[in-house]
């Protein structure tokens, strides 16, 4: 009991509990079939693997988004950046643009990542230098991004035919390759935020940018960096998506992913007004969203209903994070015991 109480202090505790509960409910409803993992052609197959595989894009986006939200910003352009990166990579592999690169997959991936980085840097520039509100600043790229992607592919759905490109969404050691990408990125990020002062700078910037500035933190460059990083993670997610459908579909690649990514971070308990953050909790949030989607599919309900479920979950989570709501509920349920709430925390 004492141990559980200690554990529940971690930000990632409740998201993980919710995730396990969702999986358990699924397992009970399906009579255990949900947890079945089969080995076919030396690859692991099963619902759980599906969740990890399909959730990898969202996990990547959530990692980048966690930092952006930790500085008190928002990036609603990630879906469009995914479309751009997919468009760049597929067009190069297809030989549609840059024939000089000789349909080289490495060059395509590098340039796509560079594209995502540029997009992120542009957002960061608008937010940190021109000082536009993050929602508005990233809205510009959100509106223009799909247009730019369409212009890169000339308005067509570019399909690629390259086994080495498909590998991005392939398998290693029986596990989906995107999962390794996520692990790599997350390990890198955790190392960077926990072993350097950067994590502290980030939280400080989110809590109070003015105070951080006076404390000698270069708030602008911190912001610029997180938006750029968010752009890169979006580009990687875009590569995985385009490798998954073996082509670039600028209209639908990453559509509404920005909302899911923000949602994942919010479920993970990172405050949307900046400050305290936790990448593992956001990953749990991303997996919660993905497992809701997968379980809705598994139950054979129309997939569109996922949206209603998500909406209800978002509101519940936001309400539980809101101090005002907690106060009101406490007053309602403890009536005359109000002096307890008056005690300093």
């Amino acid at each position: 009991m004492e141990k559980i109480r200690k554990l529940s202090k971690y930000q990632g505790f409740w998201p993980v509990v919710v995730l396990l509960a969702i999986l358990l409910i699924n397992g009970i409803i399906s009579g255990g079939a949900f947890f079945e993992i089969k080995i076919v052609d030396a690859h692991l197959y099963g619902r759980l693997i599906d969740i990890l595989r399909n959730g990898s894009k969202l996990m990547l986006l959530a990692t980048g988004m966690t930092f952006v939200l930790a500085t008190g910003g928002t990036d609603i352009s990630v879906g469009s950046v995914m479309a751009i990166s997919g468009a760049i990579a597929c067009s190069i592999v297809d030989g549609r643009i840059l024939p000089g690169a000789g349909q080289n997959v490495q060059a395509a991936i590098l340039l796509a990542l560079l594209g995502g980085m540029l997009c992120g840097a542009w957002n960061g520039f608008l937010v940190s230098k021109i000082k536009i509100q993050p929602i508005v600043a990233t809205m510009i790229l959100m509106v223009a991004g799909r247009g730019i992607a369409q212009l890169i592919t000339d308005g067509k759905i570019v399909t690629v035919n390259s086994d080495s490109y498909y590998f991005i969404n392939g398998y290693i050691l029986g596990l989906p390759f995107p999962l390794f990408i996520v692990l790599f990125v997350v390990a890198l990020v955790l190392l960077f935020t926990k072993r350097t002062a950067f994590g502290l700078f980030l939280e400080s910037t989110g809590c109070n940018p003015v105070a951080s500035h006076f404390a000698g933190i270069n708030v602008n460059s911190v912001k610029w960096m997180v938006y750029t990083f968010c752009g890169v993670t979006a580009a990687v997610a875009g590569l995985i998506e385009s490798a998954g459908i073996k082509g670039a579909d600028c209209n639908n690649a990453g559509l509404f992913m920005e909302l899911d990514a923000i949602l994942a971070v919010a479920i993970g308990g990172t405050s949307l007004s900046g400050g305290r953050f936790s990448v593992p909790a956001s990953l749990a949030g991303a997996l919660i969203i993905q497992s809701i989607t997968t379980s809705v599919y598994a139950m054979g309900v129309a997939p569109e209903i996922t949206a209603v479920v998500k909406a209800v979950i978002v509101i519940c989570i936001c309400l539980f994070q809101s101090a005002e709501f907690k106060d009101k509920m406490r007053k309602r349920f403890s009536g005359h015991k109000q002096e307890r709430t008056a005690k300093p925390a």
Partner: protein, 334 residues
């Protein structure tokens, strides 16, 4: 003293953005007329009104929210829901006289609920309206994922009846948009509620210290925004005579950028609905020019985004300058 400086400055920013917006519209329209035969005609102009009427209603609604410094990204789903739900009801034989008030009421209540959550529990407008967006879009899909045609006589009448003069057609639903515009202008300019909207957007804390009903106003603006979205949905179902669950995906971003191009500051407190209307028409002109030029329709998005960017940067510079002037004055006074 400094208060009056601030007001004149804000007044000037507002008028200047409006002027720039109007000039931009005239400039784009002239450019189109010079470049293409048959562009310069009354019917081109009237088509902007016809095709943009639902967009105008929705954008005017969202302007109220933006004026208080909030944001509402649920309107496109509310429009789609209104279309699908009314098409569904009409198909089940409910008369149009019941359907239209009902969907408008749903819009109003839905917005009020979101406003209530945003204000009472201090939630972020972005997240609450995001949930609203998911919810409404999901409900559409629950009703039907197929497109439902509307065959009701009243809807058909509204879709086809028009006034023709000098070769130009104006459909009846344009008058709904005009009525909304005039109503919104009146409310914002001459009613206590309208002035409170600006006050809340200027500084919420000051407004509440002055004893203005901040809570009621904030709930009301979200209700107005969703009501306008529902009305836009009704007009859109006149326009298309069908309800489809994926209609107008991403429309809220177009509405917000129209408002910004029309001179609304997203930090709240500054903006006009007439500016927003011109903003909608500017996007319409861009679309017309792109069509005339036979370009990929995606250029419309790129051009709109470029304009949006330009306007936001201009606003930022103007706002920065007025802050500097204010600081300068204050220093002198001290």
């Amino acid at each position: 003293m400094s208060e009056s400086v601030k007001t004149t400055k804000k007044f000037r920013i507002r008028n200047m953005s409006l002027l720039v917006t109007a000039l931009l519209f005239i400039g784009l329209f002239t450019a189109g007329s010079v470049a293409y035969d048959r562009f310069l005609s009354l019917s081109t102009f009237c088509n902007l009104l016809n095709d943009g009427s639902y967009m105008m209603i929705a954008s005017i609604g969202i302007t109220f929210v933006l004026l208080t410094g909030g944001i509402d990204i649920s309107i496109s789903s509310t429009i789609a829901f209104t279309c699908v739900f009314s098409a569904f009801l009409l198909r089940s034989g409910v008369p149009a006289g019941v359907v239209i008030p009902l969907v408008l009421l749903i819009g109003l209540l839905f917005g009020a609920l979101m406003g209530f959550m945003i204000h009472s529990y201090q939630l972020q407008p972005f997240i609450v309206t995001l949930a609203g967006q998911f919810f409404m879009r999901g409900l559409c899909a629950v009703i039907s994922t197929e497109s439902i045609p509307i065959t009701d006589d009243f809807y058909k009448k509204m879709a086809l009846n028009k006034i023709v003069f000098a070769g130009a057609k104006i459909y009846y639903y344009v008058f709904i948009a005009a009525a909304v515009l005039i109503g919104a202008m009146f409310v914002l300019k001459f009613t206590r509620f309208g002035r409170t909207v600006y006050a809340v957007g200027g500084n919420e804390l000051s407004a509440s210290l002055m004893g203005l009903p901040v809570r009621r106003t904030k709930v009301a603006v979200y209700a107005i925004s969703s009501f306008c979205a529902a009305l836009a949905g009704v007009v859109f179902s006149f326009y298309t005579l069908a309800g489809y669950s994926l209609q107008n995906v991403g429309l809220e971003m177009d509405a917000i950028s129209s408002a910004v191009i029309g001179g609304t500051l997203l930090t709240g407190g500054v903006g006009t609905v007439i500016g927003t209307t011109v903003g909608v028409m500017i996007q319409g002109v861009i679309q017309t020019i792109v069509t005339y030029q036979n370009l990929n329709t995606w250029w419309t998005k790129v051009f709109s985004a470029a304009l949006l960017c330009l306007f936001i940067v201009i606003q930022r510079i103007l706002a920065g300058r007025s802050e500097k002037i204010k600081d300068g004055k204050l220093e002198k006074a001290a």
